[in-house]
């Protein structure tokens, strides 16, 4: 009841000086608006990176050969020429690692794909049928190859959209057609759904997928693997799966505890967090800059409240003489400051949201307005009001009514 009266008093005091109250508010409005806009742009870019990465299969684990030991003579070797991964590793992972739901060997070869008069330089991935699940690829047309075809090193393949466009410019159905990769003819049994570019700008549709045995025997003439692709049962288990795979492969490769791994295990989650951390850093930076403007807005409030206390010294004296206690005066000025900052905060939130919407529609930047950003900036600006309003209010409350009444 008493507080209600004080709110009424503070409100009337602000009404007496509307323009000044608004100008004071402006600092907070700009600060809060900037914080929300920056946070929503940051959050938007983070989420777009995450979604594009997880479209590649967020549970995916990639195992690649790695050797840090120089060869005799001192030269180090590229990972593709290190022959440490074998089919046996794949089978061990499949049977022994509980946190892995699918695993596929991987070999790749670059070459020229030819169909009649058309040719196209592309990459052939030799994998197991489970690769489609691991990479979250799907077929637009046709069928996947089978384990039986893998056993027989069948000359069948699945092709990506880019390959289709370049080898079949006339638009005929590629299913059942025979194309050549290098010198080897392959029958096209499926066409992949287009996926577009990945985060790194690589065309994910410029690919031919074939059984790994076919690529190993007929093209590369090797028994080693370039990569092992695996899929963790869930994104949260991918760290555990990494651990188990590392353990298993070290045993399988008979590495002594002092020796380094001759392979590396990377999870997609790791990649996501690396990519996200860049954008998080950017967001933090921008938000910090915006936060500074919020603090400056707060200092603006403090400045105006000090001026206001000095200017209204006689009013304070009068209020005290007619029965206002020190605490009433303190609360009145504090409420004035908080009202300025909260009203500014509300307007700032509205402006921040509108600015994010304008940015996303005009510049086509992804923005995500998070409730936490709104809540946070709101709490911060209310605290700003309390913090920067307290000292001027205390100054007012400590005035001696006799001096205040005589103040010129």
């Amino acid at each position: 009841m008493q507080l209600f009266n004080l709110i009424r008093i503070a409100l009337k005091a602000l009404q007496r000086n509307k323009l000044r109250a608004f100008l004071t508010m402006l600092g907070i409005i700009i600060g809060v608006g900037a914080v929300i806009t920056m946070m929503s742009i940051g959050e938007g870019s983070k989420q777009s990176i995450q979604s594009s990465l997880s479209s590649m299969g967020s549970n995916m684990i990639t195992i690649m050969p790695y050797n840090n030991m120089p060869m005799p003579g001192g030269a180090r070797m590229s990972s593709s020429s290190v022959q440490s991964l074998t089919e046996d590793d794949v089978n061990k992972i499949r049977t022994n690692v509980a946190d892995v739901s699918a695993v596929s060997p991987g070999v790749s070869s670059s070459g020229q794909a030819i169909k009649g008069a058309n040719n196209w330089p592309t990459q052939m991935q030799g994998v197991a049928p489970s690769y489609l699940d691991i990479r979250k690829l799907s077929l637009k047309d046709g069928v996947n190859f089978t384990d039986d075809q893998v056993r027989k090193s069948a000359k069948v393949c699945l092709i990506g959209q880019t390959v289709v466009t370049n080898l079949f410019p006339g638009g005929e159905n590629p299913i059942g057609q025979v194309i050549r990769f290098g010198k080897i003819p392959f029958q096209v049994i499926g066409v992949l759904n287009p996926k577009g570019q990945n985060t790194f700008g690589q065309d994910q549709d410029d690919i031919i997928i074939a059984p790994y045995t076919t690529v190993q025997k007929r093209i590369l003439a090797t028994t080693y693997l370039h990569t092992i692709y695996a899929s963790a049962v869930s994104e949260s288990r991918s760290d555990a799966a990494t651990e188990e795979i590392t353990q298993l492969l070290r045993e399988n490769h008979r590495l002594r505890p002092t020796e380094e791994d001759d392979f590396t295990v990377r999870t997609q989650a790791e990649l996501i967090s690396t990519m996200s951390s860049t954008s998080t850093m950017m967001t933090t930076l921008l938000t910090a800059v915006a936060g500074i403007s919020l603090v400056i807005g707060g200092i603006g409030i403090m400045n105006i409240m000090y001026v206001s206390v000095t200017e209204r010294t006689r009013e304070i004296g009068l209020r005290m003489s007619i029965g206002a206690r020190g605490s009433d005066i303190l609360l009145q000025f504090l409420i004035e400051a908080i009202m300025i900052s909260i009203t500014g905060g509300i307007i700032g939130v509205i402006i921040g949201i509108s600015a994010s919407l304008i940015v996303s529609s005009a510049l086509h930047w992804p923005t995500v307005i998070s409730e936490s950003a709104i809540g946070l900036s709101f709490v911060v600006c209310a605290l700003t009001g309390v913090f920067f309003g307290y000292y001027p209010a205390q100054k007012a409350a400590r005035l001696d009514p006799i001096d205040a009444l005589r103040y010129e």
């Binding site: 007619i322 029965g323 206002a324």
Partner: protein, 249 residues
């Protein structure tokens, strides 16, 4: 014998200015009974302002007692003093001290905002009633800038009346007004004293004004020089009528 509204006993007030002790009041005793209209007079430096501050519960005596409506001010805390001012004293200042850009009614309501026992409807009614007493009910929505000096002072008097205080304490309330307007104000004050039986303590240095009161206390160098009852109180209304009619009006 009637209960005293004010009772001042051997009141002393000393200030420390630098290393020097300034004795503003050197032992003052008097009492005021309900319905009295007392003027406290004195030249500057007589201790008049100090007396006013103590009577208004804005300051406490160094020595001696001051009882307002039976309450000894000495024993009260800062907050209790504030409450006492709110409930028992109505201040009228020389410079009116109205809130700018605020209607007369809201200015009058102000003391009641600091009284949690009064609700919004009561507050409005009481403020309207107080404005009626000072004959400004028709100007309730005017801001101070739209009122003349005399009208502003009448709003201030209404503000002093609104909490039904035991005493109205006026500090040079006519100091900023011309003769005619100050007579108008004095006639209002006399009316409040006689019809509404309000106790009034009026601090002034104008002998002219003191003539309208029923008793005058003259301070000099921190002591009471004279405390005299006024035998023939001058009527402010008659004084107003006897003024030559000016062309300005």
């Amino acid at each position: 014998m009637k209960k005293n509204i004010l009772e001042v006993r051997e009141l002393k007030r000393e200030f420390l200015v630098g290393s020097q002790v300034v004795r503003a009041l050197k032992g003052v005793s008097f009492s005021v009974q309900p319905g009295e209209f007392v003027t406290i007079m004195g030249s500057s430096g007589s201790g008049k302002s100090t007396m006013l501050n103590i009577l208004g519960c804005l300051d406490k005596p160094t020595e001696g007692d001051y009882l307002l409506d039976g309450v000894n001010v000495k024993e009260l805390s800062r907050n209790e003093l504030a409450q006492l001012r709110n409930r028992k004293i109505g201040f009228v200042f020389q410079a009116y001290n109205l809130l700018p850009r605020t209607s007369a009614l809201e200015n009058v309501e102000l003391p009641l905002l600091y009284n949690a026992d009064v609700n919004t409807r009561e507050r409005r009614e009481k403020a309207m009633h107080a404005l009626e007493l000072v004959k400004l009910a028709d100007r309730f929505d005017h801001t101070p800038a739209q009122l003349s000096g005399g009208q502003q002072q009448r709003v201030a008097i209404a503000r002093a009346l609104v909490n039904e205080p035991v005493m109205i304490l006026a500090d040079e309330a006519t100091g900023n007004l011309d003769t005619r307007t100050s007579y108008e104000i004095m006639s209002l004050v006399q009316e409040l004293n006689q019809k509404e039986k309000k106790t009034i303590v009026f601090v002034t240095h104008e002998p002219d004004i003191a003539a309208f009161s029923s008793r005058t206390i003259m301070l000099r160098d921190g002591k009471i020089q004279k405390d005299t009852a006024n035998e023939n109180v001058r009527s402010a209304k008659e004084a107003l009528e006897s003024l030559p009619v000016s062309d300005d009006y």
